[in-house]
Amino acid sequence: MPAPPPISNSIRRLRFEHGEMTQQQLADAIGMTRQTVAAIEQNKYSPSLEAAFRIAEVFGVEIGAVFQWKADEKQGR
């Protein structure tokens, strides 16, 4: 498994802010398994651009509010 990219996400916080949405509820909303949502949330798996947009759509926010590029790690490369 390749090293995760320098991307962080706010899915856990967003789930909490949306009525304590469960991983399963989010997974059902975007057509994925709970395990995949958990892997994305823990930054072990980078979703496709389409999946990232779907997640943002569920929370009603821009994609940048869900996923953030870690600029400092990028510069360190």
Binding site: Q35, T36, Y45, P47
Partner: protein, 154 residues
């Protein structure tokens, strides 16, 4: 645990037990220099049938117990896991098949020396069982890679 990982566990466990026994018995026949194509053929078919009879209901029961769909559509991470596993499994199978081809001369020599009554038949039996073995081995390795990836993402 996803349904696909459960299926991988069932496939690995069943294959190791059922086909492990079959190849062990085939090896024992070879070691005793008593290869019989008919016996091995029917033994393999029985093992194949028993494996199917175990795997299919086990997967259905696992789906029911977990409240999951038996054969859900794969999401993108599962597709990626399958693709990586297939790539390694296929590469391994290709290497092992080429190895069998390269070893065919040695196998023919064994058949001529130790199975003097029917060296051609013995060669065929040994080659077929070697091909079956590497196919089953590559399939099990592929499923193990699936399990490893799911565990790493968990």
């Amino acid at each position: 645990m996803t349904m696909r990982e459960k299926v991988a566990w069932i496939a690995v466990t069943t294959s190791l037990v059922i086909f492990g026994w079959y190849f062990w018995s085939a090896w024992a026949d070879f070691a005793a220099r008593q290869l019989d194509g008919d016996i091995l053929f029917w033994r393999f078919l029985w093992c194949f049938g028993i494996a199917l009879v175990i795997m299919l209901p086990a997967a259905i029961i696992a789906a029911r117990l977990g409240g999951q769909v038996f054969d859900p559509p794969a999401d993108e991470m599962e597709v990626r896991i399958e693709a990586i596993s297939n790539r390694y499994g296929l590469a391994l199978l290709e290497i092992l098949l080429v190895t069998i081809v390269l070893a065919s001369k040695w196998i023919t020599d064994i058949a001529r020396a130790d199975f003097t009554l029917d060296p051609v038949g013995a060669t065929a039996i040994m080659l077929v069982n070697l091909i079956l073995f590497v196919t089953a081995f590559a399939a099990v390795v592929r499923e193990i890679i699936v399990i490893i990836q799911y565990r790493r993402y968990a």
